[in-house]
Amino acid sequence: MFIMLQLKNIYKSYTKDNKAVQVLNDFSLSVKTGEFIAVQGPSGCGKTTMLLTAGGLMQPEKGQVLIREKDFYAMNPDKRAVYRANHVGFVFQQYHLIPYLTVLENVLTLNLADSKKITREKGIELLEYLGLQDRINHVPGELSVGEKQRTALARALLNQPEILFADEITGNLDDDNTALVIHYLQEYKKKGGTILLVTHDSQTAGKADRIVYLK
């Protein structure tokens, strides 16, 4: 098994009122290809910070992020963006759907990035797979939270990423929807996907191969 992602001795702090708040302090983590890891820890411990750092969206002060053994932050921002477009998926608790675009259009915004061309048909196909065939032309304001989260999941999975970063994606969902999302994550893993899932819900975390605790 290959190592998909490696965080090596990460230090990350924020400055608030001229005082440094140390969030990640010598944090290390290794994620193997095809592994499903759940990250748990108390609120404010730095789970989101760790996820954004791992996904190439937030440079740490110290330490290395190796993605497929390449130093993520040694790339320039544009290269990182291209890498994310082709190999990484993100889902957030807040969905971050574009309010003026329909479900299908939201999914197809992937084409704004430097990724391989994603066709309408592929988008529709994935949305049908996620049970959103009747919502393709709806705007996010017209969707339920479960549908919103599945739309966000569709956008994250459409480019067939090697690794999926998910931050509290079940936080707003009822049990049925949570189960549905977990089902799709497991399906993704079956096809060889790697997952780093942040959750405070122990039941969700229980579905993972491994649970990492952040203090």
């Binding site: 954004l52 921002p77 994310r84 477009a85 971050h96 990035a113």
Partner: protein, 421 residues
């Protein structure tokens, strides 16, 4: 989905932000178009006014010239015909001509068809010593016949003097103590004083007028004269050089001097009128220039002010648009859109606002020009360069005003939005 489609979708589904930006650009361009059309219209109007004034003046001058011609035709010229070898300098210095020509010339002239001459007054003049009184006088022999000359004592005395009589200048009758009706010896002949002239303050005061024939006898110049005064000549044209040529053709060996100061005065008056008209046009042009300067000053303050205000307005709109779309920007960055892609999203929107606003502003500017001025004037002024200017300017304005917000958007740290829950 490409960036253009995204921009168009954002615009079409969130019309408010776009419309407000558009209105701002339209206002800016309309103001500029209005100012340009107004200033150009001012120039065109000035040209029209000046051309009209010039035409009016020309017509008035033609009328005036016609009037003068008619007046002059009625009054005629006063011409002095002199022997050709008469030096004009001598004539003016001595007050009389010293060269001679045949008296027949008078009849030759009156028989000619070139003009109708009312009065032809031949005269023979010479400075001479009056032997009986030992006085230097100017003897003038006349055959004059101009009755109304009496009314103007300043006119040269060219009245017919009866044979055997004389008219005495003021100085002469005063110093010699002679009165009308007195008898006096003159070159061995008896003369009766026919008239004593008033003081004139000229050589007339030492002049004696007698019958032409008698003067010719005394001066031993039979059938000779040294000047013919042609009074009130009526002729077809009013060109003195033409008349002069015609007279000298009939009377070779003469020269013709125009005595008509009235004609000169009229010509001067005409000149003056023309000059005044020209000055009036000049004043009008100056006035228009001044008005234009004022309007230009107004426009040069007004237009940049409106442009700046509209620029600030667009800047604020884009700033608020960027704020509203922070989450969108964050997720775009997360899925791999580059910073330059984010910049494009906003600049393309600005470009669309600029292009559409510029075109609409151009149309509205022309339309208001037509409403406030008139259709043909505006159409004669506006050409494709106005459209070009409108679109280039609106696009620049929109792009410049949105540049900083777009740059801020592209530099925005995606983590800040994505971390929020």
């Amino acid at each position: 989905m490409n960036i253009w489609q995204l921009v168009v979708k954002e615009i079409s589904r969130r019309k408010m932000n776009f419309s407000l930006g558009l209105v701002s650009v339209v206002i800016a361009v309309t103001t500029l178009m209005g100012a340009l059309i107004l200033l150009r219209a001012h120039d065109v109007r000035t040209e029209q006014i000046v051309a009209q004034k010039e035409e009016e003046t020309k017509q008035r001058m033609v009328l005036m010239q016609d009037d003068y011609r008619k007046i002059m035709k009625k009054l005629g010229f006063n011409l002095l015909i002199l022997p050709k070898d008469q030096q004009l300098a001598d004539l003016y210095a001595n007050d009389y001509a010293s060269k001679y020509m045949p008296e027949d010339y008078v009849s030759a002239l009156s028989a000619s068809k070139i003009m109708s001459i009312r009065h032809l007054l031949p005269s023979l003049q010479q400075k001479i010593k009056w032997p009986e009184k030992q006085r230097t006088i100017i003897l003038i022999g006349t055959r004059g016949e101009v009755p109304f000359l009496h009314r103007d004592p300043k006119e040269p005395m060219l009245v017919a003097v009866p044979k055997g009589t004389m008219v005495l200048g003021y100085e002469l009758h005063q110093s010699l103590n002679l009165k009308q009706g007195d008898k006096v010896r003159f070159f061995g002949q008896d003369f009766m004083v026919h008239q004593c002239n008033e003081e004139r303050g000229s050589k007339d005061d030492i002049s004696i007028w007698i019958d032409l024939k008698q003067a010719q006898d005394i001066l031993n110049r039979p059938d000779q004269v040294n000047a013919i005064l042609a009074l009130k000549c009526i002729c077809a044209g009013d060109d003195i050089s033409l008349i002069r040529k015609e007279i000298t053709a009939i009377l070779p060996g003469t020269q013709v001097i125009e005595q008509g100061t009235k004609v000169i005065t009229r010509a001067e008056a005409r000149e003056r009128a023309a000059q005044e008209a020209e000055e009036a046009i000049g004043a009008e042009i100056q006035n228009r220039e001044k008005l234009k300067k004022e309007r230009e000053t107004y426009a040069s303050i007004m237009v940049p002010l409106v442009l700046i205000a509209c620029g600030v307005w667009i800047f604020l709109l884009f700033l608020s648009n960027v704020r509203d779309r922070q989450s969108e920007i964050g997720i775009f960055r997360a899925i791999g859109v580059r910073a330059s892609g984010i910049l494009k999203i906003f600049l393309l929107k600005a470009l669309l606002i600029g292009l559409i606003g510029g075109f609409l502003g151009f149309i509205i500017g022309i339309f208001s020009g037509i409403v406030f001025l008139d259709l043909r004037l505006v159409l004669s002024i506006v050409d494709f360069r106005f459209l070009l200017l409108a679109i280039v300017l609106s696009t620049l304005l929109s792009l410049l005003a949105s540049w900083i917000p777009a740059l801020l958007a592209s530099q925005q740290d995606p983590a800040i939005v994505l971390r929020e829950e």
